[in-house]
């Protein structure tokens, strides 16, 4: 078993109202960043886990997302990276 860092992005599902993202976008517009079209606020988790290889580490984190880390009704997740720890 080796140690891996798996990085996950969890974001509000597309199409659902994201008031936090809208508030941040409004603030950016106030600062003069008028080119900003949209902002989505989510969570970034880095999970250190032991696994046989990188694929197994990613598979385990996908399972964790499905069962705890992301809400299947309101959130989407993507594995942003897997690296040896």
């Amino acid at each position: 078993m080796k140690s891996f860092h798996v990085s996950v992005h969890i974001v509000p599902r597309k199409g659902l109202l994201d008031p936090q993202g809208k508030a941040v976008a409004d603030a950016l517009h106030t600062l003069g960043f008028h080119a900003v079209a949209d902002v989505h606020v989510g969570r970034h988790l880095i999970i250190e886990t032991a696994a046989a290889d990188a694929a197994a580490a990613e598979a385990a984190v996908r399972d964790m997302c499905g069962r705890l880390l992301a809400n299947p009704v309101t959130e989407d997740f993507e594995i942003a990276g897997v690296s040896a720890a």
């Binding site: 109202l17 936090q20 309101t74």
Partner: protein, 230 residues
């Protein structure tokens, strides 16, 4: 009839729920620690409001894995009455006892105020003494109460009469202005198909006496008492 009130780390309405059972209804009640595996013979379970586990990750997400939740789910499966109030509603949704999820309020602000809700369904253990269309006033106190569900499930929830309460205005209409948090279809509370599990964001246990502004919450607890004794 014995009430079991689950205390999670961060629950803060558990004493109010005990008060509802003992002082308002004159029934015995026990606080059940979340690490326990024993419902201690409770006939009815209340998942109270608060901020279990500091709302870490998502409101209710971690509490649903507390050891006692396995017993609560089994109790619900057997048809035992369960009510989730505020954070308890969030936990019940996360645990899959009720459809949907509660997201950040549309206006981002934590809301603490009285609201009017309309009883949409009386085929539950918790609304059996209500009249359909009856309006109840009770407080809300939440930052994450926007009821959300995917389109297919919403159709089922509405089609099968699983909506128990809706936010309404003084005239009893479910208007956008009466919707405090942006919930889909003004939904304030839902039930499971069997009607023994109900969840709602407003706090009936904080509306037990006119002295505190409203006694409209009593009918919720009186309903379950009547339902279990029936």
């Amino acid at each position: 009839m014995k009430f079991g009130i689950v205390s999670f780390p961060g629950s803060n309405c558990d004493d109010d729920a005990v008060f509802a059972a003992t002082e308002t209804l004159g029934q015995p009640a026990a606080k059940l620690w979340h690490k326990s595996h024993d419902l201690e013979g409770s006939d009815v379970i209340i998942l109270p409001g608060g901020f279990s586990y500091g709302d870490y990750l998502r409101a209710g997400a971690i509490a649903r894995f507390s050891p006692i939740m396995r017993e609560v789910a089994a109790h619900a499966q057997r048809g035992g009455p369960v009510i989730g109030i505020c954070n308890g509603f969030q936990i019940a949704c996360e645990a899959g006892l009720l459809p949907g999820a509660l997201m950040r309020n549309a206006g981002l602000q934590f809301l603490s105020m009285p609201v009017t809700i309309r009883v949409e369904n009386t085929a539950t253990r918790w609304t059996s003494l209500c009249q359909e269309g009856q309006r109840l006033t009770m407080p809300i106190a939440h930052g994450e109460g926007r009821y959300t569900v995917d389109a297919a499930t919403l159709e089922r929830v509405e089609g099968e009469g699983l909506v128990v309460f809706r936010y309404v205005d003084a005239a009893g209409e479910a208007t956008e202005a009466a919707n405090p948090n942006g919930s889909l279809d003004n939904i304030a509370g839902v039930r499971n198909a069997a009607g023994n599990v109900v969840g709602l964001m407003p706090h009936p246990e904080r509306a037990l006496d006119q002295l505190l502004g409203s006694a409209d919450g009593r009918v919720i607890f009186e309903s379950v008492l009547a339902a279990v004794h029936a």
